[in-house]
Each structure stands twice: as C-alpha cells, then as structure tokens.
C-alpha cells in the first residue's frame, strides 16, 4: 500500500479545479470578444471531469478490492458551446452583420463567478486533504522516534 497514493488523488483534484478556473477566467476575459482565430465570436467553454482509476502498482492489484474505491479525477475534455451567442444591435460596430447585429459570446457573468467560487473552494478542500495526508505520513514517521 502506497503511503502517498492519497496525495496523487488530491493532486489530480487540484489540477482539475485549476483547469476549471483557467477556463472560467478565459470565459470572463473574453466576455465581449467578437473575433477569434477560428472566426466568429468567442464561444463559451466548459470542462468535463471524469473519474479514472488510479494507475495501480502490482502489489495494489494483488492487495484488495478496496483499491476500486480510489479514483483520480481528470479533465476529459474542454468543450465549446457553439450556440452561446448573443446578438446585439450596434450598426456602427466593425463586426456588425448586414442587419446591424453584432454577435457577442453569451456569457453569464453571475454564473461564471459562482462557478469560480465553487472551483476555488474545492481547490481549498483538496489542499486540506493533502495537508492531512502529509500530517498522517509525518506522524507515522514519528512512531519509532523516542
């Protein structure tokens, strides 16, 4: 049994939440971007998380069925929402179409902020889990120290 396997799981949680925060930051920063390299306005992005079994050592596989309970999280994909477009009437805008409408990304600031807070809290939860794992490992090291 790997003493530090729990650390890897929490680390995957940190990575996942950080990826989510980056995507949210990108959504917020581009809330009014009307041009992108691939053409058209910026499309709102979202991350997809998936639970994946830990890369197990041979000993772990032999060990118990309990290993099945431990799952890392990983970012499966970052998806764009192509329909998230908001049309606004502004004929003077250089990107206005023939009818005078400008296509803006449809980004709900409130929703993004709520997601950001949730991601940041979960990040903290994973940090706490890492710290407890570290405490436990340290405590185990001190058993023999008299």
């Amino acid at each position: 049994m790997d003493m530090l396997a729990g650390l890897h799981v929490s680390y995957s949680g940190l990575q996942a939440q950080r990826a989510r925060m980056n995507v949210i930051a990108s959504n917020l920063a581009n809330a009014n971007a009307t041009r992108t390299p691939e053409g058209g306005p910026y499309k709102r992005q979202d991350v997809i998380f998936a639970a994946s079994p830990q890369a197990a050592s041979f000993a772990d596989l032999l060990d118990t069925q309990l290993h099945n309970g431990v799952r890392e999280v990983r970012v499966l994909n970052v998806v764009r929402d192509p329909s998230a477009i908001r049309l606004e009437y502004d004929p003077k805008h250089p990107d206005a179409n023939a009818q005078g409408f400008v296509a803006y990304p449809d980004i709900n600031l409130l929703q993004e902020m709520v997601d950001l807070v949730s991601a940041s809290r979960l990040y903290e939860a994973n940090v706490t889990a890492i710290n407890t794992a570290k405490d436990m490992a340290l405590r185990a090291l001190q058993i023999g120290r008299i």
Binding site: M1, G6, A51, G69, V73, A129, M136, R139
Partner: protein, 137 residues
C-alpha cells in the same frame, strides 16, 4: 515477549493505521471527484470487524468444511473493511452524490483517529524503552 507486554494491542493499532490510511484515500478521492458527473461517494467500514477480531487469535480459527457452517469471526490479519456507498441526501442533476462538507468532516475525524493510534503506538515504544533502559538501575 513484546506481544505479551502489550497483550496484542500493537497488532490492533497497526491494523487500525493501515485501514485508516486506506479510508483516507477513499475519502480523498471523493473530495477530488466532488464535481465529476455520475460519481458515487464511497466509504470504508471496518470498525465492527476490527472490534470482533480483537482478542481472536490464530489458534481459535475454525475450519469451515461446509458452506452451511456459520461464518467464523475474522482474525485480526484478515480484517479488510468493506467498501460501501456513503449515504447522501443531495444527488443533483449531474448524479454526483458527494457532499463535500460530510467528506471533509469524515476526513478530519479519520486523521484524528489515525494520529491518536500513532500517538499510542509511540508511547508504547517509549514505555518499552524505559522498561529496558531503566530496569537495570
């Protein structure tokens, strides 16, 4: 001899540390997957099995020659704990059953109990050392 000094509690504590470490990993994996769609929160139960195994030594082991024999109590070494689905009251639309509050509370409890066991183990070794070194004076 050491076994008799501590009447087997060394083994119990050691097993407790092992199982708490596994439980910590399972709880940690719940926290990491707090937003994964379809993830079901899990937990490990072992307290009852551990209690039953205390005081049950290898000499007492009975042979089960017929499947209809009563299941024998587990020895300390065989206690593994069982993986269970943790109770949850808020399964949202993403079918994720993790309650982060609950997991963090369980994580804290588990860590405290791990540390308590480790502390008791330390003190046992401390006692042993004192007995060895001060007994000759």
């Amino acid at each position: 001899m050491v076994q008799r000094l501590f009447s087997g509690s060394l083994d119990v504590l050691q097993k407790n540390l092992d199982l708490r470490l596994i439980r910590h990993q399972v709880l940690t994996s719940n926290v990491a997957n707090a937003e994964t769609p379809g993830y079901v929160a899990k937990d490990i139960r072992f307290e009852e099995a551990l209690q039953q195994a205390v005081g049950f030594t290898a000499q007492d082991t009975l042979r089960r020659t017929n499947p209809r024999h009563l299941p024998q109590p587990q020895g300390l070494r065989e206690v593994q704990g069982t993986l269970v689905v943790s109770p949850s009251d808020d399964v949202g639309r993403d079918r994720n059953s993790v309650s982060v509050d609950r997991e963090m509370a369980e994580l804290a409890t588990n860590t405290l109990q791990y540390n308590a066991s480790a502390e008791i183990l330390s003190r046992m070794f401390d006692q042993l050392k004192r007995t060895i070194s001060d007994g000759g004076r």
